[in-house]
């Protein structure tokens, strides 16, 4: 257990270091983008006003409000202090809405879409991949080409195909949105039914994409493990097949667990394409519009959440790995 504590401490140290750098880049990168958002807002507000003085006045006011008149180092200190107080600032593009309220309203949609899709896709994909490796014969000849085909289809392509077939041609599902445009979010049976119907297309698009990649990975890992020396030795010692399959799939699963963690980490910002095509009211659509409008506070907050999720899941997975794979623990405690 002493070795494990050392492993944990080491991983935690790197987690903190990465977090600090991620925080810094998160702040800096959007602000290095060309374009002046304050000018854009001023132009919008001061539309029709001919007086240069008034425009200047308005510009000054907003510059002060957003803090863009101060040197960038000072802005950073301010930003860090505010973030620690849970204040991500005010959105530029959706002024005067608070960034935290924008993210709060879209995050739920994204999580509800992504989490089940990733989990379902991961489980189905791994089962199919394991079966393809173990059963071989005709099964493998069907699963593999289909998996490769689906996996290589770009997300937007698959989304558009689904849209055309199921929404435009068959008219089984609506083409866009998270719920009927004539409804107001509430817990009424009518609204929930509308949400479920709108949910199907983006959900199955994401599931299909996840299945392909997972099945391919699991299949090759399983084939590799099935041919390992320990399988042969266990067989020649009379160990029954059921037990050996247990060894094999546990070992083959290890890289797949990493895959799941990465998918969960990037899930908040990951479905940008699917959300955009289906006009789903999630975080992906929010990030897209924030980038279009150089909305620094909103971009920073959204990417910060994505970064934190990625880091947190990576950290979590390394901790779990240390427990389930003795090889990693041994390598670390040397």
């Amino acid at each position: 257990m002493k070795g494990y504590f050392k492993y944990f401490r080491n991983k935690f140290f790197w987690f903190v270091v990465t977090l600090i750098f991620a925080f810094l880049l998160n702040f800096l990168l959007p602000r290095l983008m060309p374009g002046d958002p304050v000018a854009a807002i001023t132009a919008k507000i001061a539309q029709g006003s001919t007086s240069i003085e008034t425009v200047k006045e308005v510009y000054k006011e907003y510059e002060q409000l957003f803090g863009t008149d101060k040197p960038i180092s000072q802005q950073f200190v301010l930003y860090v202090r505010n973030v620690f107080n849970g204040d991500f600032g005010t959105s530029f593009t959706q002024y005067p809405r608070k960034v935290s309220s924008i993210i709060g309203s879209s995050l739920g949609w994204t999580l509800a879409l992504q989490l089940p899709a990733i989990l379902v896709g991961w489980i189905i994909g791994n089962v199919l991949g394991a079966l393809a490796a173990y059963v071989k014969k005709g099964w493998d000849k069907v699963v593999m080409p289909v998996a490769i085909f689906v996996n290589n289809l770009p997300a937007f392509g698959l989304a558009v195909i689904m849209l055309v077939i199921f929404a435009v041609q068959l008219k089984w599902f609506p083409t866009s949105g998270g719920y009927g445009f004539d409804l107001i979010p509430s817990f009424t049976p009518n609204f929930i039914k509308s949400v479920l119907v709108h949910y199907q297309l983006p959900f199955w698009t994401l599931v299909l994409i996840a299945i392909g990649g997972q099945a391919i990975g699991m299949r090759s890992m399983s084939i590799y493990e099935l041919n390992a020396d320990y399988v042969k030795y266990a067989r020649f010692m009379g160990v029954p097949d059921g037990k050996i399959i247990g060894y094999v799939f546990r070992n083959a699963m290890l890289p797949q667990v990493t895959g799941l963690a990465l998918a969960l980490g990037t899930m908040v910002g990951g479905s940008l394409v699917a959300e955009t095509i289906f006009s789903y009211p999630g975080l992906g659509s929010t990030i897209l519009s924030a980038v279009m409008g150089s909305d620094y506070p909103l971009i920073s907050a959204a990417t910060l959440i994505v970064t934190m999720m990625v880091l947190a899941f990576n950290f979590l997975i390394e901790i779990i790995y240390g427990l389930i794979d003795p090889r990693i623990k041994a390598a670390q405690s040397d």
Partner: protein
């Protein structure tokens, strides 16, 4: 003569490649090992040594297939048995195997004791965890391995330790025949010595009743085993006691093989080492006549057109050559 532990009669097995070609890696091999004795199998890479080791266990899975012949372990013919029965009643219990690459022979994510449990339970489902532990630590103690090894993962063991652990696991059920496939070839000399001593120990303490030891290191074989069999291109070409095969080889191939190595004995200092020219034949299309003919310095046209059968000599030796014992000895003396 002691009780015969393992008798193999005319065993033939083949590999079937992806392109449906047959490769006869073990071709009509017969051998016999008595209780308390060990047999060494020597030969160059690709001659079918390891395939023979796998074939002897009577349990085949692709790409290896059984063709014909009998395997009799302690009076019981296993070649007609159902594969599942062989797995449950024979493997590990009657005949056990030490793989060539012990490095990867254990499941990397399982503790040693967990694998032992699975092995023991496969043959006796009623045994409890505590009993298995008792049994395993006793066996490990007997073989000079610390019982704390049982609680370790394979990655935590050194190469030599891993190999000895694998040997200890192989003999956990006290098999009648132990097949060791190059158990020491990947180890340094010190670990090799420990492994060999361990195998000798197993025989002495009667944990195992007989052993087949496969290696390309002839000097080692000479020191470890009672008898030696030389294989070439899937066939056995010579069989005799260790002393006979190493110091008085009959078959031109054995002669060449023995001439290419140093056996650390008095008088070997001035001996020049020789090499056998050429490469072994392709076993997809083995030559009709003597398989060694192409590389043999005593070859005659007859060797190529005639199938060569093994010849038993008076002192219980066997060799596969068209020439008589006297002719060969005279030829070797004239060099």
């Amino acid at each position: 003569m002691g009780k015969v532990m393992l008798e193999v009669k005319e065993l033939t097995t083949k590999y079937i490649t992806r392109f449906k070609e047959d490769v006869y890696a073990v071709d009509h091999v017969s051998l016999k090992v008595e209780e308390g004795k060990s047999l060494g199998i020597a030969g160059e890479s690709g001659c079918g040594k390891s395939t023979l080791a796998l074939s002897l266990m009577g349990y085949y899975f692709p790409p290896l297939y059984y063709t014909s012949g009998d395997i009799i372990i302690d009076g019981r013919n296993i070649s007609g048995m159902e594969p599942d029965d062989i797995r449950k009643t024979i493997l590990g219990r009657e005949i056990a195997y030490i793989p060539q690459a012990a490095m990867n022979a254990l499941n990397p994510t399982g503790k040693v004791i967990n694998f032992i449990e699975d092995v023991v339970r496969a043959h006796d489902s009623k045994i409890t965890k505590a009993e298995v532990y008792e049994m395993a630590s006793e066996r490990f103690n007997l073989l000079g391995l610390p019982p704390s090894t049982l609680e370790r993962y394979p990655v935590e063991l050194s190469g030599g330790m891993k190999q000895r652990t694998v040997i200890a696991i192989s003999v956990i059920l006290g098999p009648k025949v132990l097949i060791a496939d190059e158990p020491s070839s990947a180890l340094d000399v010190t670990s090799q010595k420990m492994v060999i001593r361990m195998l000798m120990d197993l025989m002495e303490k009667q944990v195992i009743k007989s052993m087949i030891f496969i290696t390309h290191e002839l000097p080692l074989l000479y020191n470890v085993t009672d008898d030696i069999m030389v294989m070439y291109a899937g066939q056995m070409v010579e069989r005799g006691t260790a002393q006979q095969t190493v110091f008085d080889p009959l078959h031109p191939y054995s002669k060449g093989l023995m001439g290419s190595i140093i056996v650390p004995e008095s008088g070997s200092r001035g001996v020049r080492l020789t090499a056998i020219p050429g490469t072994p034949p392709n076993l997809k299309k083995p030559p009709f006549g003597c398989r060694f003919a192409e590389r043999c310095r005593y070859v005659t046209p007859e060797c190529i057109v005639r199938q060569v059968e093994p010849v038993e000599t008076s002192n219980n030796r066997m060799y596969r050559c068209i020439f008589s014992e006297e002719y060969l000895r005279k030829a070797y003396a004239n060099e």
